[in-house]
């Protein structure tokens, strides 16, 4: 087969799709805007629910894209995208022209910018950090406050930028709950003397072995789960962070002082994805993610012939789902050329 496919986005979905396409006999160009492929995997230390090192998945993907029919273009993004009767013509920012017979969009997600929820004090108070910032600390093997001391009390705020009409995101990002539970356990492992709290609206542990992890957090690590949406964080006179929350199960307001607050940032349609949507005239949904032709049985197919979707550019997904979604995108590409022939 002499067909050439351009995969836009070199994260988990893009790498898996590129690898599968190469196995199916296509020539592939994998476009990545950053210096390295791997996407958000590079920011995470360990993965839920089994807490394996993210580098193991990255190694698998690196191997997958090492095929000689895959050309990887890093620090590259698409400036212009034209379609014609033969396929597509893409132009990168340095003017390189890429001809494509089909396109797989794998532009992924961006983490919600936590400073948009001003009331939680990210970028205002010391020691209000995001889930991603905490992963960096895990990688370093040291959890410290800005004064260099270890925190004694850590609170996780769920649903930051998810299920929140105030920021225009109605949807559930679906992975933050299990991430919070994983990180809460890791904090307790690192700092055995610490007390850890999770402030949640609902615990959405809908994945294989998520509920078991939640249970471990309660039984082994004694993480305190408090059901209620944090209304605000403020600083006390002794430099602690004060959280106010309605303890909805007690039916009373609760006030607590913490050394550190971790904001569980949700997932949003990526800026890169929005650009591609505009350039190619692709349909996006109310949640701003790409809108596939059918949510049940054509989840990889776009509203433009020859353009396919892989991974979290269509909705929040975990790594397992992302890899499966990327593979199914490739089978849609294969069907597309079989139908054309």
């Amino acid at each position: 087969m002499d067909k050439h496919i351009v995969v836009i986005g070199g994260g988990t979905a893009g790498m898996e799709a590129a690898g599968q396409l190469a196995l199916a006999g296509f020539a592939v160009s994998l476009i990545e805007k950053e210096k390295d492929t791997g996407g958000h995997l590079n920011d995470w230390y360990k993965l839920f629910p089994d807490r394996r090192n993210s580098s193991e998945v990255k190694d698998y993907l690196d191997k997958k894209v090492s095929s000689k029919s895959i050309r990887i273009l890093t620090e590259t993004y698409i400036e212009k995208l034209n379609s014609n009767k033969d396929g597509f013509l893409l132009f990168t920012q340095d003017g390189t022209e890429l001809k494509a017979d089909a396109i797989v969009v794998a532009t992924g997600f961006d983490l919600f910018k936590s400073s948009r929820k001003e009331e939680y004090g990210y970028g205002i108070y010391n020691n209000v950090i995001t889930s991603k910032d905490l992963e960096k600390m895990f990688r370093k093997g040291k959890i410290t406050m800005t004064d260099g001391n270890e925190p004694k009390t850590v609170g996780f705020v769920h649903c930051v930028g998810s299920r929140d009409e105030k920021v225009g995101n109605f949807y559930c990002s679906k992975l933050c709950c299990v991430t919070a539970v994983k990180q809460a356990i890791e904090v307790r492992e690192h700092l055995p003397e610490s007390k850890v709290f999770c402030f949640y609206m609902d615990m959405r542990m809908g994945g294989a072995y998520y509920e078991e992890l939640y249970r471990e957090a309660q039984e082994v690590w004694r993480v305190n789960f408090i059901r209620g949406k944090v209304s605000e964080a403020s600083e006390s006179i002794n430099d602690k962070l004060v959280v106010k929350v309605e303890d909805t199960l007690a039916g009373r307001p609760l006030k607590i002082e913490l050394d550190m607050i971790v904001l569980m940032a949700g997932m949003e349609m990526s800026e890169g994805g929005k650009k591609i949507a505009e350039q190619a005239g692709l349909q996006t949904g109310e949640n701003r993610f790409f809108s596939p032709a059918d949510h049940h049985y054509a989840n990889n197919i776009s509203d433009k012939k020859g353009i396919f979707y892989a991974g979290t550019c269509t909705a929040p997904m975990n790594i397992t789902e992302t890899i499966s979604h990327a593979r199914s995108a490739v089978s849609e590409v294969i069907n597309y050329f079989n139908d054309k022939a």
Binding site: M203, R215, Q218, D247, R252, L254, K255
Partner: protein, 114 residues
């Protein structure tokens, strides 16, 4: 003037730092299954006492965990220790023993039967 009618309302807020969680720690040490409670309320739904009074074991559990011990001390007297709650708990909490141990804890703290 002293009967003018003004009173000072007691705050409803749960103050984590001000409360102590000795009672719940006493119970968990002896009945670790309490840690697994997810506040589903199955125990309260099946409770005969709860059908006739405001008694709720789910509420007792959360108040214990928050250190609102004074409220628990009085509420807990209503339990008849029938143990029906233990039969429905999806997380396998020995709820009957939780009530029993709570009574023991208060008895120890107060030095008289609860």
């Amino acid at each position: 003037m002293d009967r003018f009618g003004f009173t000072i309302s007691k705050g409803r807020q749960i103050d984590w730092e001000a409360n102590n969680r000795d009672v719940v720690d006493f119970i968990i040490e002896r009945e670790p299954s309490l840690k697994s409670c997810i506040e589903c309320g199955g125990c309260s739904a099946t409770c005969t006492t709860g059908n006739f009074t405001s008694f709720s074991l789910r509420e007792i559990n959360i108040l214990l965990k928050r250190g609102e011990n004074e409220l628990v001390r009085n509420k807990i007297r209503k339990c008849m220790l029938c143990g029906k709650c233990s039969l429905v708990c999806p997380r396998g909490v020995n709820t009957r023993n939780v009530v029993f141990l709570a009574k023991q804890a208060f008895q120890k703290l107060d030095n008289h039967a609860v």
